[in-house]
Symmetry: D2
Subunit: 281 residues, 4 copies
């Protein structure tokens, strides 16, 4: 006997730009939206019956159609409206909407910010994910592709050595990473934007000030601070690559490297993942 296990389907990479034209100037919302549905889709697989299969093209249309009226606030709110919309189909048990917002900032001119001209504000993107069933809606906020570096207060030493270990202990190394972090809300935030800004500020502050013994140590420090200072969330997940910066040996070149010259590499790289959460009593 063969059976269908976990399955989902949807539309990815729906690119949506909304221009909000206000008297004081324009604002640009630039989103990439993914929609995924789970539910009563067994017949589509086993017999090719599409009677219950909401077309992924319809998901795309829905994102554009609802943006006009409903993309007025944070992506967490828009995602909740989208997920709720898809739950109106009785065959849908769970709708998951993942959103990334690419930030644009007004071009700075001599007389102030331009009202209708913008530049992309870096690679770091704000993210949200809304997973909704008829029983519960879980909202996660986060960020992706935030590239950060510490040039002090970062060590990696005291690790075990076997015959295959050649890495030197480092008491003052560069630590660089591209942060992907998500945090789960215990309840909808009163102000998604303010909540997001405050969480990111905590994350960055601890990253900068923490005396790090390893990437793991930094994740714990950032995650616990985020939970301690922000009662609205109950779990933090982080995925941090270790983007190695190796000191260049200038000795053979007749020089000396006073902790100054590094080669940045991408392959291979460390990858550290952890979840930090409030313990259930």
């Amino acid at each position: 006997m063969i059976e269908l296990g976990e399955n989902s389907y949807g539309k990815r990479a729906i690119r949506l730009v909304k221009v909000v034209r206000e008297p004081g100037g324009h604002r640009v919302r630039d989103l990439t939206v993914d929609v995924a549905l789970e539910g009563d889709f067994e017949a589509a697989h086993t017999t090719g019956d599409n009677a219950l299969v909401v077309a992924t093209d319809t998901m795309k249309n829905t994102v554009y159609a609802l943006a006009s009226e409903h993309l007025t606030g944070a992506i967490e709110a828009f995602g909740t409206i989208l997920a709720t919309h898809f739950l109106a189909f009785p065959q849908v048990r769970r709708a998951t909407v993942a959103l990334r917002e690419h930030r644009w900032m007004p071009i700075g001119l001599a007389g102030g910010p331009a009202p209708d001209a913008f530049q992309r504000a870096g690679d770091a993107t704000r993210t949200a994910s809304v997973g909704a069933t008829r029983e519960a809606t879980v909202v996660e906020s986060g960020l992706a592709d935030l590239v950060v570096m510490k040039t002090a207060k970062s060590a990696f030493a005291g690790f075990p050595r076997d015959r295959l270990t050649t890495l030197r202990e480092a008491h003052d190394r560069i630590m660089a990473t591209k942060v992907t972090a998500t945090w789960r809300h215990a309840a909808p935030a009163a102000d998604w934007d303010a909540s997001h800004a405050a969480l990111v500020a905590t994350l960055l502050e601890v990253f900068a000030e923490h005396r790090s013994e390893s990437v793991q140590h930094s994740i714990w420090a950032m995650g616990t601070a985020m939970l301690e200072r922000h009662a609205e969330i109950d779990e933090v997940r982080m995925t941090l690559p270790n983007l190695h910066h190796w000191p260049v040996d200038l000795g053979p070149l007749g020089g000396e490297n006073r902790d100054e010259i590094f080669v940045a590499t991408l392959e291979p790289h460390g990858l550290i993942e952890a979840t930090i959460r409030r313990a259930t009593p």
Copy 2:
């Protein structure tokens, strides 16, 4: 109270090329290896104590050091040796080794295949993942980035229509996808290479011959055939993007599109995921 939840760490994108120099000619093994460990790493997070933290640099060294003696057969076997090696550290509870093999084939010359010159054989890569604990070792085989297309026997019709549905029913559409598939072995294969070749042949044959009502329908057809014909596996997972090919409307250009001219697009795209498995009685 704040606690550490799930966590793992390791080294990604370890690039390893092994040249096997045999009398009849050379062979090239070209692998990308990822290693991840789970276990007793709480102190590293909470107190910055690295006494149990096997350095990811050591993981990289280990892959190179063991390749010399142990990369003699399939990546499933090499992965098993690597995972077992890392389990020798008592603090490691689970070691996961994921491997991708990039294929090279001898350059064809007038007199036969070149003995020592090669060309990359496409983007499709063979994959394996070995997850080992002291209780069990699970080996999955698979493939990634196999791009395939059907120009007949593919439909998508009979789906529900609401006011946001504009997609036309298609009784003869192009279906194109980039296959990522993995299958779990019930027990180690007698011959990993032969098993892999046979599974891929089944997958391709069903993809080509199946009369598809949707991507979901094709996944089910491929997965059930793989399970029915290959007793050594007990589960198949597939992730198939729908790489849309839209007919170009040539009417406004004074022409007629007789199901012949298409625009290939990447954004947005459908994404269909499912697991097919033997039911436990």
Copy 3:
């Protein structure tokens, strides 16, 4: 005084798939086309007058519209028809059409090749570029992204050493590269496909068999053979990255590397470019 210098404009990345449905089976043509025009476009720049500016959207439409009737043979021929079409605009002095063809091959089944199911045949793409003015049309053919490797008959030694030179002489190294090559036709080929196949065969044969002292040496060997054996071309250009494969030092790991274990790297990489041509007497 400020003036407009060299300028061109056009449409890039026009993605075109044509399915040719013949009794014995289908064929897939999968092209990416770039169009660029030069000519009397000064007013568009200096005064914003678009009266002579053929819209890039029209270029895209043209590619699709002409594909129906005219994409029946080689991309060199289709490119020539497109370039000629754009020269019909009197303000166009030069039209350049660059085409890449992505190859699909029928899926192999037990009973022979599938008539209507295909898999992508590697990353290597056939290329062509047609540059047409009212005076002359120059057709170049080529290939891109052909990844090849030699595991023997490749050295790099005898190079000058200064105080910043640490590279060891290598008498038997791996040489790997991703070939981009173009060759210019002295006159239109009688059979573009046969000509292309023959040129690629020569390139691969010399790459495989040549005793290479450097990438430069290999470029010369390949280029001269292509010119000597194929009278229809008069110039070859090649751009070859040196995709370094460094031997791993297994000594500190208690092993010995018998020219067997390598790390493949992408950054940094060498880059060698040269033109080989028939001398004008």
Copy 4:
């Protein structure tokens, strides 16, 4: 007779990070450097004689070795030192050094900028290229990957219409592009950093304020302003993709698009290139 035409070789993607540790805080210099040499390298091609071939590995070493002492100011200055260094080899006729600087900014903390923690400041990179022969050194400055958008004052109308033209005239469209611009210095700048900042400010200001009839029109406006306001340069080159934002037709979805909802696309895209320069009298 077959001869060697234009040729060059070098090292690409040399990744260099320098940490400058000053009492008031650290600074991060993050560069990607490409080196290319032209000169007396014919024998390397034709006979495999490497006696004059400076190893590309040595070029890499040179970049790291000289960074220690000489990467103290702008990349234009460091590039000039590197190019001059390579000209010391008598067989080198021209040395070209291209540099990209990836910007990091201190993480902002409550008490001010962090002294030793940084975040990547967007994708836009400052570029420089130094081309040196024994006769002359040409320094170009520039920027790459600056993504900008205008939501007003951008039109495209009045273009010619033929039977393959379906694009509507747009009197108020979104214009978005990823700017690659370079400008050539008539003489070394007194202050490379100040010069670069001023040029970028002019470019952005004109982009924002200009009433654009086309991308060509904007290039001309930006280029002429740069030349008119900055006497130190004598030529500007720009390459601007047109990153199309198409209005979504909400009519079939029961809505109306009041110039508000757009789909951002990457394929196909326009590409506009032009050189603006001081006319030689």
